[in-house]
């Protein structure tokens, strides 16, 4: 392992000028990355900054359009994770996906099983080898234990052990602590330090600033698919890193209009469920309430629970001052709370059905003439909505599948407008939508607010949240970590840095 010295000697992994585009979106623009042997190298950046795309290029899940990668001084190009593992690079994913019915030994030696004569599995030898490796790591279970009986932290450790047993010289860890408690995190850090001592390089992706300061040697910062630069962790400050991540100035390209803000329409108190706890907020007539925070911080989870898609453990909800219970979406719709889900394809549309059917789906109970559907009224409604939202479709009888992303989103919005909501929740309403449609959707949000609707918008794009909201709630690890008023943004007391700071747990 000490032979990882290459000609230049300094780096184990060098990425030069990597670019990658998906359709029209440039995910990576001329990105570099240099990792030294035996170091822990952090990658930092907002959601969508390009960290994951670069990692996928390294382990061969994507092929970069331009640029070269060198590993241990030699040109490196692999067709997938299996080849990458053979070459000496492995990745521990954030979402672990073990085969629950395999034993630890079987997981470690998956696809390189011990055999007798190349045909029959030699379980005994395999278990013995696995036991030996587990012992080195002080792992508390026998190699025969099934993966399903392990905790998440232990599954992760098995993945790391597997990587080491494959003689990986570079291990990529994507948000490894996101589901670990503090004790498990400490244990993981001990293991990382041991690996470092053995000369293994680690790329560490995390949103948790404290951890990066604790465990990492260098940090590379990414922003909007570009490489901002590298810093040594010694001597760099948290503020410096955050301003490198943000970089840009907020331009006022958002059509936010001030409209009269009325009484409180909807209020939640101490709402707790999976991924969020003790959430309290209220939203008023004519107000656009922005929700900011990192992906996985509990923003969508809260809204899904309010809309009845996920269960609520405790807490109360009030609509127009009256307490309401919502256990399923139909109750929310009836009460006047509608939600445009972040995942349009999974939760928004029946793609093979017509635009008309999709628009009408949520309001069928009120659009009947006796037992039959009132198709005439339905058609008038749909055509009207199409005009209001300037939907670009040849006919409302066409499949929803035939529309562009922005127009599909408009169909989903139209579905909810027909339900005449008091509270409209929009989760990432402009994700995967082109620029033109994006500003149209922003305009519509202002119109809805002007009509007296209460709008709640979740967005991962800071400029969008800041440009569109009357008020912003910032989430951090399942809790609300601060509230920002529009006036504070306008007078400069609050900016992207301060909001991001809150999203990372600071004040």
């Amino acid at each position: 392992m000490a032979e990882t010295k290459n000609k230049k000697g300094e780096y184990v992994l060098e990425c030069h000028g990597i670019s990658k585009a998906f359709g029209g979106t440039q995910a990576l623009k001329d990105v570099d990355l240099f990792v030294r042997p035996g170091e822990v190298h952090a990658l930092l950046g907002e959601n969508g900054a390009g960290k994951s795309t670069l990692m996928k290029c390294i382990i061969g899940l994507h092929k970069q359009d331009e640029g070269t990668i060198e590993f241990e001084g030699k040109p490196y190009s692999v067709k997938g994770p299996v080849e990458a593992l053979k070459a000496g690079i492995s990745m521990i994913h954030q979402e672990l996906n073990p085969e629950p019915h395999l034993s630890i030994a079987e997981t470690i030696f998956l696809k390189r099983e011990n055999t007798k004569g190349g045909i029959f599995l030699d379980k005994k030898a395999q278990n013995e080898r696995a036991e030996a490796i587990l012992k080195q790591f002080g792992f508390p279970h026998s190699a025969k234990t099934l993966m399903q009986d392990l905790t998440l932290a232990q599954m992760q450790m098995v993945e790391i052990i597997k990587a080491v047993s494959c003689d990986s010289r570079l291990i990529i860890m994507d948000e490894p602590t996101s589901s670990l408690d503090s004790e498990e995190t400490e244990h993981l850090f001990r293991t990382i330090r041991e690996l470092k001592a053995k000369g293994v390089a680690i790329i560490y992706i995390s949103h948790r600033m404290e951890e990066i300061f604790e465990i990492c040697d260098h940090v590379s910062i990414f922003r909007d698919g570009t490489y901002v630069g590298e810093r040594s962790m010694e001597g760099v400050t948290r503020d410096e890193l955050i301003s490198m991540m943000v970089g840009r100035k907020v331009e006022n390209v958002f059509p936010k209009t001030d409209c009269e803000i009325g009484d409180v329409v909807f209020k939640v108190e101490g709402l707790t469920g999976k991924g969020f706890e003790n959430i309290s907020f209220e939203v008023r007539k004519g107000e656009i309430l922005g929700i900011s925070g990192l992906v996985g911080s509990g923003r969508s989870e809260t809204m899904r629970a309010i809309f009845g898609m996920d269960p609520i453990k405790s807490g109360k909800m009030y609509l127009d001052g009256k307490e309401i219970t919502i256990k399923k979406p139909s109750q929310a719709i009836k009460a006047g709370i509608c939600m445009v889900n972040e995942d349009r394809k999974s939760f928004g549309l029946a793609l093979h059905r017509s635009i008309r059917e999709n628009m009408a789906l949520a309001t069928l109970p009120t659009a009947q003439k006796g037992l039959l559907l009132d198709k005439k009224k339905e058609e008038t409604n749909c055509v009207e909505m199409g005009k209001l939202l300037s939907l670009k479709a040849a006919s409302i009888e066409h499949e929803a599948l035939s529309l562009s992303g922005g127009n599909q989103q408009k169909v989903v919005i139209a579905k909810w407008l027909l339900a005449n909501p008091k509270v409209l929740i929009l989760d990432e309403p402009t994700r995967g939508v082109d620029v033109g449609a994006k500003s149209e959707i922003h305009n519509l949000m202002c119109e809805f607010a002007a009509k007296g609707m209460a709008v709640i918008m979740i967005s991962s794009e800071l400029p969008e949240v800041m440009g569109m909201s009357d008020r912003i709630l910032v989430y951090h690890e399942g809790k609300i970590n601060g509230e920002v008023q529009r006036s504070e943004i306008l007078n400069g007391n609050e900016n992207q840095e301060t909001i991001l700071e809150r999203a990372f747990g600071g004040k």
């Binding site: 009836k334 939760f347 029946a350 093979h352 059905r353 789906l361 559907l373 198709k375």
Partner: protein, 323 residues
């Protein structure tokens, strides 16, 4: 504005494809009828047509139910066994217990509908695979039929009962009237009611349906209950036709029903179906049996032809609908 020939041809080609995509199955049916009609002139007679329509009415009832199940991304394999159970209930109540025909029919339909509800409940409540659930319940249902009939055929000599199949209103036998009525009701149900829209939505994207406030439980219960009820109707017609209650009837009937659905453009991945399509599918299957019988082709070859026609029809549909 350039009027180059390719473009015009392109549009025409697109139109042709769109037309064939939508009506291709009807075109197949049309050519099939012409070819059989040329080879065997007797095929063309009004009598034969009425004969075919009467025969297909049994498969049609089953196919409509299966079509609903397929459209919710499910399947109902219990329909064949339901036929046998209904038959045995009719035989037992009318012959052994001396019940009146209306009472016997009501009880038989109630039982088959109840089995449908049970199928739907297990599928919706516990998220079990429809294939496995109905594969299992059909064993229980057929077993029940055997218990009721004692494994022996019960001859039903009651003329009033047999009239259900042979009675004519004007030129049309009663089963054809049932077929017309059920087709109209099914058409309205699937294309003109809330339930129909929910069935499509649940089948196309169950998560989006739930997020739009659709009750998956109610929708699936209704679908399998209807499938059970319609299988019961098929059982009544079948028993009236043969005049005998038997526990071994209806074996493999789900195959013909599924074939009719698929021919009629019902998607196996749910969310896509039309009632006119299924009706055409039903008649294609009917004409394969009838036409080949008239031409005098052995039944072994009928089965092979049926398989080949289905595959060709689907292939044709795939090619015509390719973007």
């Amino acid at each position: 504005m350039a009027k180059n020939g390719e473009k015009v041809l392109g549009i025409e080609k697109d139109k042709f494809r769109a037309f064939m995509g939508k009506y291709g199955i009807s075109v197949i049916l049309f050519f099939m009828m012409i070819i059989i009609g040329i080879v065997e002139p007797a095929f063309r007679s009004a009598n034969n047509m009425i004969n075919v329509a009467t025969q297909v009415s049994i498969n049609a009832m089953i196919a409509f139910g299966v079509c609903l199940a397929l459209t919710t991304e499910g399947i109902d394999l219990s329909v064949g066994a339901q036929l046998a159970l209904v038959s045995c209930i009719l035989g037992h109540t009318i012959v052994n217990l001396g019940w009146g025909i209306p009472a016997a029919i009501i009880v038989a339909l109630a039982v088959s509908t109840a089995w449908g509800v049970l199928n739907g409940y297990m599928i919706a409540k516990f998220d079990m695979f429809p294939f496995v659930v109905t594969l299992s319940t059909q064993l229980i249902i057929r077993g029940l039929a055997q218990v009721i009939s004692g494994g022996k055929a019960i001859p039903i000599t009651n003329d009033a009962f047999k009239k259900i199949y042979s009675m004519k209103i004007g030129p049309l036998p009663f089963p054809i009237l049932v077929l017309i009525l059920v087709t109209v009701v099914m058409y309205i149900l699937l294309h003109w009611t809330k339930l129909g829209r929910y069935i499509f939505a649940v089948g196309d994207n169950v998560n989006a349906a739930i997020a739009s406030g659709v009750s998956v439980m109610q929708t699936k219960l209704a679908v399998y209950a209807l499938s059970g009820f319609l299988a019961g109707v098929a059982g009544i017609i079948f028993t009236a036709k043969t005049g005998s209650a038997q526990s071994n009837i209806g074996v493999g009937y789900e195959t013909d029903a599924i074939a009719a659905c698929v021919l009629g453009g019902t998607s196996f991945s749910g969310g896509i179906a039309t009632i006119p399509g299924v009706v055409i599918g039903i008649f294609i299957i009917g004409f394969i049996y009838n036409g080949m019988n008239m031409i005098g082709i052995d039944s072994y070859y009928q089965s092979m032809t049926k398989g080949a026609v289905i595959i060709l029809a689907i292939l044709f549909d795939k090619i015509m609908n390719k973007k």
